[in-house]
Structures are given as C-alpha cells and as structure tokens.
C-alpha cells in the first residue's frame, strides 16, 4: 500500500485526544445504563443487580402514556416530513435550474441553521395566537412543529440519494415508453427507497429526541418522553429515570442501526 503524505494519526496528542473524547462521550452513558440495573436507589454506589427500576418504569402509567405519545408523534411527524422532503428533493434536483433555487434550499434547511430556542420561542408566540383565535388545543401543533423540524433531516439523505441516481435511467424509462408517472413509480421511487427510509428514520429519531421545541409548543398534558423525564428530574433523581433513558437509548440504537444498514444498501 502506498504511504499517504498526510496521516492524522501522526499529529502530536492525537491518541490522547481520541481517548478523552471517547471517555467523555461514552462513560457517562455507560454509568447511566449500569445504574439502571442497581438494586438500591443510589446513583453512585452499586448494591447488586436488579430489574426493579425497569419493572417500576413499565408499571408507571404516566411513563406508558408519554412513551406512546412520543412514538406516535415521531411516526406522524417523520412520516409527513418524509413525504414533503421527498417532494422537495425531487423539486430541487429533477427540474432545470430556476430562480430562487438557492433560497428554497436555504428555506428547507432553515431548522438546521436557526438555534432551536429561537424556533421554539417563535413557535410559542405563533401557536399561542392561533390557540386564542381558534380555541383548538390538540396535538396538531406538536405534529406540525415536529414535522417542520424533521424535514431537513429527512431531506438530506433523500436528496443525496437522488443526486447519485443516473438521470439516464429515467431517460431510458421514458425512451421505453414509460409515462412520467410510470417512470417515477417503476424506476425513480424504487431506487429512492433507501434514501427515503433513511430520511424517515433520521426524522423519527430527531422527533423522538427533541425537547426544546416540544417544551415551547405543548399544551398541558402533552408531555413527550424527554420533557416528562426533564420534569421528573427536577424533583427527584431515581434509577427509574435511568431505566427509561436506557430503553430510550436502545430504541435509538435500533433505529440508527437500521438507518445504517439501509443506507449502506446502495444500488440494489
């Protein structure tokens, strides 16, 4: 193998920084997971293995409630965001260059660039005025806010996938008598599936995870799992929270792994 002229590993202190980063990233998580299996109430002293906190978490009706809300909110928001992001990606890659294309690109990706708190406060004011005007207090606000927030995360992998698709494939389909709709259904869409699935999963994880936006937009009784946990932690820290957080982590890991597997399946 040819030696590369530049190797990051040869920078002084590379090893130390790498180890420090890994420690800071993963040791806290490891501790959290470990103490979710603690038999006692302590977060510092190991008193033996037990599943009691998991049992407590599962028995807790409030936890069940917010978990289900979080899940369906994430599915709804990621689902709608994926559809919109697919259309946006098609609109920004499959038509010739047009005026304002860059502006649209910036608009779609706005949530990536504007601080979440700003979006949160803006939504708070906006939603409050609609609530006053209409009297509607339902979950619609959260679904809409999460959807808007998820769109860029869904958009990026879909667009990336579209950009690697050979335009000649769509031309070949048209050449072989496929109407534009047929070409999309038989060629573009099936080849886009890995991107769409990746976009959905990213959106799902993002929605599941977002605290700030939810905190600002939710009405009473609309806690999601993360906002509920934050509320609980303010009162008392029990290993039950560790258990919930660990389960949450497991779910995220499953989704991220699926994302990885799907996005690796290229060209198939």
């Amino acid at each position: 193998m040819a030696r590369r002229s530049f190797e990051v590993r040869r920078i002084p202190g590379f090893g130390a920084i790498a180890i420090l980063t890994i420690v800071l990233l993963y040791v806290p998580i490891l501790i959290l997971v470990t103490f979710s299996f603690n038999a006692g109430r302590s977060q510092a002293e190991w008193e033996g293995f037990s599943l009691q906190w998991y049992r407590a978490a599962f028995a807790n009706e409030q936890v069940q409630d917010v978990s289900i809300r979080s899940l369906w909110l994430a599915i709804a928001a990621a689902g709608i965001a994926t559809v919109l992001a697919t259309l946006a990606a098609l609109g920004t890659t499959r038509v010739g260059r047009f005026r304002g294309q860059t502006l649209i690109y910036a608009l779609v990706n706005q949530p990536l660039m504007v601080p979440e708190v700003v979006t949160g406060i803006a939504l708070l004011i906006f939603v409050a005025s609609i609530k006053v005007a209409t009297g509607y207090m339902g979950m619609g606000y959260l679904v809409a806010a999460h959807t808007a927030f998820c769109i860029p995360f869904a958009y990026l992998p879909i667009r990336a996938r579209l950009e690697t698709l050979d335009l000649n494939l769509e031309r070949a389909a048209a050449d072989l008598y496929a109407s534009p709709v047929q070409a999309f259904r038989h060629i573009t869409l099936p080849l886009l599936v890995p991107g769409i699935a990746a976009g959905f999963m990213l959106g799902f994880v993002i929605s599941l995870d977002t605290v700030v936006i939810t905190e600002f937009v939710k009405s009473a009784g609309q806690d999601t799992l993360p906002t509920y946990m934050l509320g609980q932690l303010r009162r008392a820290v029990t290993p039950e929270m560790n258990a919930i957080a660990s389960l949450f982590l497991a779910l995220s890991l499953v989704v991220v792994t699926a994302f990885f597997l799907v996005s690796r399946r290229r060209g198939a």
């Binding site: 070949a172 389909a173 008598y177 070409a183 060209g267």
Partner: protein
C-alpha cells in the same frame, strides 16, 4: 404516422434545418448548427466525429430528450416536435447502458413492452426471443451488477430492440469494451441489424468502426455535418480537410491549378509534372490559384528515382510488418507519406535514398477551401 403525403414515408428520419442551443443568454452554447439529414429505412447509418462535436446531442434530439431550438425532426414521416420520448417509436442504447439496477436481465428487457401495456404472454415470449437473439438465455435472472461489460451491452441492446422500434439509436455502444470484444460486438450488431431490419443510427468517434460497419456515414465537426456518404465516398472522396484528416492517413499537398475542365482540374505537382485532380461539387478555382489536393498513403507507389509523377528523398522508414511507411521530402520541400505493401521480403528504403513516386490513375482530389 402512415400518410407519407410528401413521398418520404420510407425515410426513417428526416431532419431539416436543425439548430440546438443549450442554455440562454451569456451561458448559451450552440451544440448543433444547420443539420440537414435524411436516414433511410433499414439503413445502418453512422454519425462519426470527435468528442464534443454534438453526436450525443443529435441523438437526444431524435429520441426526444432535448427539444430542437430550430428546425424539424420527422420520424417515419411524422413531425415529432410535440412528442415526448415515450411517444416516439425510437429506442436508445445509452453510452453507459443505463440498465435498471433493481431489475433482472429479463425484467429490463421486458420493460418497454410492459409500459406499452402488452399482455404477459407477449412480454414473456418477446423477452425469451430477445434473450436468444443476444445469447443471454442463461443469465436472464441476474441483476445488471452481476454482468460483465459485454453482457450488459447485450442486455442494453436487447432491451432497446424488444419493443421493435422503427429506429434504434446507439450512442458509442462499444466504446467501453476491450478491443477483442469490440470486434465481436461489431459483427453481432451487423447481424442483429440484418435479422431485425430495424434502422440503426450508430454513433462513434472511431473511424475504422464507422468504415467497416456503416451503409452510410455523416462526418460531424463542431456541431455541423461536414460530409455524408458511403464509406467509400467518405474515404476516397473527402471534400473537406477535416474529413480527409479525421478518416485514415492522408497527404495534403498545396499545388497551383493549371487549367480547369468540367469537374476536374489539371494541377502542377511538386517537380513540375501535371496531373488531373477531381474537383468538389460546385468548385471552379481560377488557373494559377493554389488548391489543396489529397492523396492517401497507399495510393502512391514507390518507383526508381526519375520514374513516376514526383521525386523525393527519404527522411525515414517505419516497418509495420504488413506494410512499411516511407516518409519522404518532395523536391519542393513538402512532406509525403507513402505506404508500401510488403508482399515479399523487401528492403526498406534508408534515409537519404532518392525515390520516385507514382500515383494511381485519378487518385488526386481537390478539397473545398
């Protein structure tokens, strides 16, 4: 589609006054200029030209992927300007094949017929027939990624042939193949064309491929068609310097005109002898004017000094086995390359040798300016 009122219904493709400009304003680029082209039904027609001359653009206009900026395109007598690619009875073999990666070989081949709404049995029967035609029966269930370049090539061909188009457009279909496979596929293509009777419009930048395969050739350069004709006409009677230079090896000699008759001129060769040279259509140079004549290297013979139409001194000889290329400087200083067939074991002339050059009868051609 079948009215043929203007009597051109037998022409597969008829292009008149075609211009294609990409982009607008300052970034506009004129890719095709004033293309007039008639391709007859059942013909093996080749578009030959260097990279970037507009071959793919012309195919894309015919297929319907690009709209002409100016001019008209007729397919089997029908004006197609308003028709999308899916409404034209023309299929394309793409330069990079563009096989659908998520479909099997058989599904790829059947795609066109399925889109046309043909019955399952017909799709299956035609697919089987096509698989046989391109000798891919065993690999019907493979995905394109599991095929070699030559096999992908065959699938692309079969896919484009399956709906039995009026015209098949082939964009440098052999350029990605190695030499041996390329030769094999050249024969295969000729066979397929003969068996199906479909009009082939074939794009290549390889002059030898064009000469060996085509019924007729159009030579393109910088968005224009410079000359069209049979391989013989293009090779033996090039009318433009570019065509003569692009196809085969050529000697260009600048010579004065002595006299002009109908269709031919007497020109004064280096060394003072005169010889007849055929004029391009419509050209009538004045006596005394300088013109460029072309002679192919194999159209001159090596003869003892003092004999033949021209005299020269050898500058170098290059032995190629079947023939030897003799580079000579003529008496007036112009360079000339002569190709001698090595029918027996002949000694190659050495630099400094004096030689005579004899020209065959009627081999000189005057180029358009």
């Amino acid at each position: 589609m079948k009215d043929g009122s203007d009597g051109t219904a037998t022409d597969a493709i008829e292009i008149v006054g075609l211009d294609k400009v990409y982009g607008q304003g300052a970034g506009a680029f004129r890719a095709l200029t004033g293309i007039d082209l008639t391709i007859r039904s059942g013909e093996f027609f080749t578009l030959l030209g260097p990279s970037g001359c507009g071959k793919t653009t012309l195919l894309r206009v015919i297929a319907g992927f690009e709209n002409p900026t100016e001019g008209s395109v007729r397919i089997s007598g029908e004006e197609v300007a308003h028709l999308g690619p899916n409404k034209r009875q023309v299929n394309t073999v793409f330069q990079n094949y563009a096989l659908f990666p998520h479909m099997t070989v058989a599904q790829n081949i059947g795609f066109g017929l399925r889109m046309l709404g043909r019955s399952r049995t017909e799709v299956a029967a035609t697919t089987a027939e096509m698989l046989r035609l391109v000798r891919m029966e065993e690999l019907a269930q493979r995905r394109p990624a599991e095929l070699s370049g030559g096999q992908q090539q065959r699938v692309a061909l079969a896919r484009a042939l399956a709906p039995h188009p009026r015209v098949l457009l082939l964009d440098e279909p052999l350029s990605a193949l190695d030499l041996k496979l390329r030769k094999e596929m050249q024969g295969e293509l000729k066979r397929l064309q003969a068996e199906t009777g479909i009009t082939f419009v074939f794009v290549t930048h390889d002059q030898e491929e064009a000469l060996t395969m085509s019924d007729r050739i159009a030579v393109m350069s910088a968005g224009r068609i410079l000359q069209r004709g049979t391989p013989h006409e293009i090779y033996h009677a090039p009318t433009e310097r570019f065509v003569a230079d692009f196809i085969g090896d050529t000697n260009f000699l600048t010579v004065p005109v002595v006299s002009v008759e109908a269709g031919a001129a007497q020109v004064e060769l280096p060394g003072g002898r005169t010889a007849p040279a055929r004029l391009p259509e419509g050209a009538r140079p004045a006596p005394g004017a300088k013109v460029t004549v072309v002679i192919r290297p194999e159209q001159a013979r090596l003869v003892p000094p003092g004999e033949g139409e021209m005299q020269g001194e050898v500058t170098s000889s290059v032995f190629f086995g079947t023939d030897t290329h003799v580079h000579a400087r003529l008496t007036d200083g112009q360079d000339f390359v002569l190709r001698r067939q090595n029918a027996g074991e002949l000694a190659d002339p050495s630099p400094g040798d004096r030689i005579g050059l004899a020209l065959g009868d009627g081999v000189l051609r005057v180029l358009k300016d």
